[in-house]
Amino acid sequence: MNDEEKIEPQAEPVAEQTNKNEELTQLQKLEQEIEEYKDKYLRQLAEMENMRKRLTKERQEMVRFGIDNVIADMLMPLDNLDNALKSATASSPEVKNWALGFEMILGQFKEVLSQHGVSAFNSVGEKFDPFLHEAVEVEETDTHSEGTILQEFVKGYRCGERTIRPARVKVAKPPQKKDL
């Protein structure tokens, strides 16, 4: 457009016109540049704001998962204490008395857990749910419907809707039909 005029600068007024046009395009260019920078700036600002929100959310989640993980790590030793006490039932009165004391300690631990909203849930007899249970073994049986939990090896724990640790279970399966 204007380029053609630029190529042949003849009379004064035309040159002036060209200059004006040049100034105009220059101005447009600058305006466009400002627009671009403004846009980039606003985007960056918005991105910062979004990142801040994401970080806040992520931090909350990290705290939550952090606590969940520590609690989950604590559960195994607690299970073992539980197991230990169960096998103390057939012992001498003296041992039983000790066991009673330890049982109380276990009770204290469980109290701490429940204070943090963490509680064990029952699995035996329930229907298997991979969000709550981890299947370790299956057993073929007619006596229970498919997917029923027959035995619980490790107790499951949850806190509100979240599964802190899935229960490890044995699940019922219908006897294999001779199809293969």
Partner: protein, 640 residues
């Protein structure tokens, strides 16, 4: 704003055992944790009627549904049934050939393609990214092994399409790893990528020139990975237990599960420690009572147990080198990928094979996804578009009382930035302060580099600690530092400009960082001493002042008592290198100072005098006011 929507292209590492998703955020890659809080997701999909489970839940129910739980689908994607005969033996689900001979899965009499399984995993990764970014994701970069042929790449792309993703690029995993380490920049080089993951081992030799990657050769072992290492430990545990108690735990599913977990835990622990305790109380019972498993696994033992596994990595590496036509000396960089490369003996072996220290630093489980995200960022224009903001290499600060370096801007701060801090005078009626601008990581001013100096004069007469002098550091995007000091009361201001280039070379920065690390403890002690001295001096000063002021209103015994303590502090200040003694004297004085307050309180209560006790001034010093180093003005020339 504008109609051009800001979009993300996510990077997905679609792995054989685990998958990982990352995205460029604010110019740097970020791995996104899934809803369960994990940064990687098992590549497992379960089909149960119309229900589909992906990831951890699918894994948890695997034993109840082995023939409907598809894992390792990547081993079958884009391949003919005839090619994967040997693979089918490793999996409990049914692999069949479809009409055109492709390997597909049969679940409940229905055909499911490996692409569909891959798509389920990709959907989960996509949802993970969407939950984090809060917007719909439609585009992705997906990685594949370097040895994947066109058919396998196309199938992976199809999996993306089924998942509702426009796959912008399929890139080889080793290329992604190299991108994550920024190795695409600079001159031509040859790179070896050693990838030992959960179930497969891959070695790739790449050549990079002008940002273009070429895979020169690949090799590997399709059935070697972390699980093999876990199994080696598990068998050792079972054998040892059998030797000790004559009980075979391998038949006890629950005990086996506990031991498998313990084995993995010990393996991970031994990457950082020399020995690991494996305690599994009440692992089983027999007629004589409960049995416990208690063993110590040393790193040396672990290495002997897994020696054969590590050795299996050697031959593929040598073959890959041979196929690439290179000698190990021609390979400039080595990158470690996959969780198993954290094991010290694996890393040692890599070093031995290639004769050089491998790159570490990026999480080996995430490095591929990170590289994919970087590629996504390049495609979306983010990497290019975002101004590459600089960081300052060393802390910037000023010298304060006792020759201490007080940083205002920490190292690694992204610029442009501005930091302000209020300082004060160290003597009564001090007319001027000297601002000595320092660069460096050392605690004492003299150990850092002075890059500028100026004076702020004509401070109105005031007791020490009263004037508020605001020192501001402003670094613009070009790295030019503007330092200003302003007396808030009088409004008088003085400033200098320090050019970026007046700073240090890279080598100097490195040397100064090393220096700071080496002298860390010594500097800390020195700074502690100075701080103790400053505190003691200032407390003795204030105590003396209060005492002189309120002498008449205080009982004589308190006056003399406090005077003794002030003298003790002053005496301790005469000596150097006695931080503990000085601190004790200061603490004692501080304690006795309270008596002034108490006595004054009594006095004021009896006199109904509302004046507050002077203790307030002894402890309630504004924490952000520090005393600037003082030099009586001599109109010294400005350096810089």
């Amino acid at each position: 704003m504008s109609e051009k929507k800001k979009n993300y292209i996510i990077g997905i590492d679609l792995g054989t055992t685990n998958s990982c998703v990352a995205v460029m955020e604010g110019g740097s890659p970020k791995v996104i944790a899934n809803a369960e809080g994990a940064r990687t997701t098992p590549s497992v999909v379960c089909y149960k009627g119309t229900e589909r489970l992906v990831g951890v839940p699918a894994k948890r129910q695997a034993v109840t549904n082995p023939e409907k739980t598809i894992f390792s689908a990547k081993r079958f994607i884009g391949r003919k049934f005839s090619e994967v005969q040997s693979e089918t033996k490793h999996v409990p689900y049914k692999v069949v050939a479809n009409s055109n001979g492709d390997a597909v899965f049969e679940v409940d009499g229905k055909i499911i393609t490996p692409e569909e399984v891959g798509a389920q995993v990709l959907i989960k990764m996509k949802e993970t990214a969407e939950a984090y970014l809060g917007e719909k994701i439609t585009e992705a970069v997906i990685t594949v092994p370097a040895y994947f042929n066109d058919s396998q790449r196309q199938s992976t792309k199809d999996a993306g399409r089924i998942a509702g993703l426009d796959v912008k690029r399929i890139i080889p995993e080793p290329t992604a790893a190299a991108l994550a380490y920024g190795l695409d920049k600079g001159t031509d080089k040859k790179i070896a990528v050693f990838d030992l993951g959960g179930g497969t081992f891959d070695i790739s030799i790449l050549e990079i020139g002008d940002g273009v990657f070429e895979v020169l050769s690949t090799n590997g072992d399709t059935h070697l990975g972390g699980d093999d290492f876990d199994n080696a430990i598990l068998h050792w545990l079972l054998d040892e237990f059998k030797k000790e108690h004559s009980i075979d735990l391998s038949k006890d599913k629950m005990a086996l599960q506990r031991l498998r977990d313990a084995a993995e835990k010990a393996k991970i622990e031994l990457s950082g420690t020399q020995s690991s305790e494996i305690n599994q109380p009440f692992i089983t019972m027999d007629a004589s009572g409960p049995k416990h498993l208690q063993m110590t696994l040393t790193r040396a033992k672990l290495e002997s147990l897994t020696h054969d596994l590590v050795e299996r990595c050697v031959e593929p590496c040598l073959k890959a080198l041979k196929d690439s036509g290179l000698t190990k000396d021609q390979v400039q960089e080595v990158i470690l990928v996959g969780g198993m490369t954290r094991m010290p003996s694996v890393e040692r072996k890599v070093k031995e094979i290639f004769g050089k220290e491998p790159h570490k630093g990026v999480n080996p489980d995430e490095v591929v996804a990170i590289g994919a995200a970087i590629q996504g960022g390049v495609l979306v224009g983010e990497v290019k578009d975002v101004l590459l903001l600089d960081v300052i290499p060393l802390a910037l600060g000023i010298e304060t009382l006792g020759g201490v370096m007080t940083p205002l801007v920490e190292r690694n701060t992204t610029i442009p930035t501005q930091k302000k801090q209020i300082f004060s005078t160290a003597a009564d009626n001090q007319p001027a302060v000297t601002i000595s601008v320092l660069q460096g990581e050392r605690k004492m001013a003299k150990d850092n580099k002075e890059i500028g100096r100026f004076d702020l004069t004509d401070i109105p007469p005031a007791p020490r600690g009263m004037p508020q002098i605001e020192v501001a550091f402003d670094i613009d995007a070009n790295g030019i530092l503007h330092v200003s000091a302003k007396d808030i009361q009088s409004g008088k201001e003085q400033k200098i400009k320090i050019e970026a280039k007046s700073g240090l070379t890279d080598a100097e920065v490195q040397r100064m960082l090393r220096d700071a690390e080496e002298h860390k403890e010594e500097d800390r002690l020195r700074k502690e001493e100075i701080e103790a001295r400053n505190e003691a001096d200032s407390l003795a000063f204030r105590a003396q002042k209060s005492l002189n002021e309120f002498k008449d209103k205080l009982p004589e015994n308190i006056v003399s008592d406090i005077q003794t303590h002030i003298d003790a502090v002053k005496k301790a200040l005469e000596k150097t290198g006695n931080t503990a003694e000085l601190k004790a004297a200061t603490d004692a004085l501080n304690e006795h100072m309270q008596k002034i307050g108490e006595a004054m309180q009594k006095h004021s209560e009896s006199n109904e005098n509302p004046q507050s006790g002077p203790t307030a001034s002894s402890n309630a010093k504004k924490p952000d006011i520090e005393e600037a180093e003082v030099e009586i003005l001599d109109d010294e020339d400005k350096k810089g």
